[in-house]
Symmetry: C2
Subunit: 128 residues, 2 copies
DNA sequence: TCATAGTATCCGTCTTGGCGAATATGTGCA
DNA sequence: TGCACATATTCGCCAAGACGGATACTATGA
């Protein structure tokens, strides 16, 4: 088995080997409609957790977890101010990534929608 | 930054509403280490299913399903030639997407790896 | 100090989906 | 026409993880 056990996944320097799991995790973070919706909401600007709860419509606990997840993955950054916690997208490449994926998905949305091998959890409010 | 609502899907078929589920599905396709590994393998050039089985090490059935999934999502294109089926990445933006994600993930791989809210299923076998 | 409000974490439940193995489909060749 | 090979599909099993609700944590204000 080709494995890159010798390539150390150090910050800022991902080799070609074990990184796959890490990058997959990174992608998976956006593979959930609720988190993606959340991220797109934050692309508009900084928002508090309460703002997000109001906008997305999930329970506060769920939103908090999703935000923490996005933060862990490096998509957003948290800023505490008293009792409030504000989240925002800091890296412009995040918007780039989302736009690129949107464009690619749009070019294939018929097949994508029809694909039954993957069915993103129909969580969140199903469309409005 | 006020663009999230203005990004027009190229294809025109994706609105702002239900698109989130579609794009999430798109991301989720790369959220599995096996599929991501597969895609990166195909970024190197056209490969047959057998090539992929040999390279990835999963069962043939699994590989076939993963490839079909990547094809449905528009990441790769299948070309039949007799009994063989060759898969390849046609859109250069796919490589762009992967590279962008890699760079972002690399900048945050410590936190990413530590994030227990998402645990991408380890590649082939289970974690040890 | 206590009450309150904003946020984070824990827990039980239930669905998604990845896995190998078995099997079906399809193509080329004798 | 039947066998062999390449690929696709189906099935049962089981873990990841998304959900709401309950609860813990923390900062502000009285």
């Amino acid at each position: 088995m080709s494995e890159a056990a010798d390539i150390a996944p150090v910050d800022g320097l991902l080799g070609q080997g074990d990184e796959v799991g890490t990058v997959a995790k990174f992608f998976r973070a956006l593979g959930d409609p609720s988190r993606l919706r959340l991220l797109e909401f934050l692309l508009d600007g900084e928002r508090s957790v309460s703002d997000c709860v109001a906008h997305i419509g999930l329970s506060q606990g769920r939103i908090s977890t999703h935000l923490a997840c996005l933060a862990d993955c490096g998509y957003v950054h948290a800023r505490r101010e008293g009792r409030w916690c504000y989240y925002r997208v800091t890296d412009p490449r995040v918007a780039e990534l989302v736009m690129l994926a949107r464009a690619l998905a749009a070019d294939n949305c018929t097949a994508l929608d029809a694909c039954e091998r993957i069915d993103a959890p129909a969580t969140a409010p199903r469309r409005m």
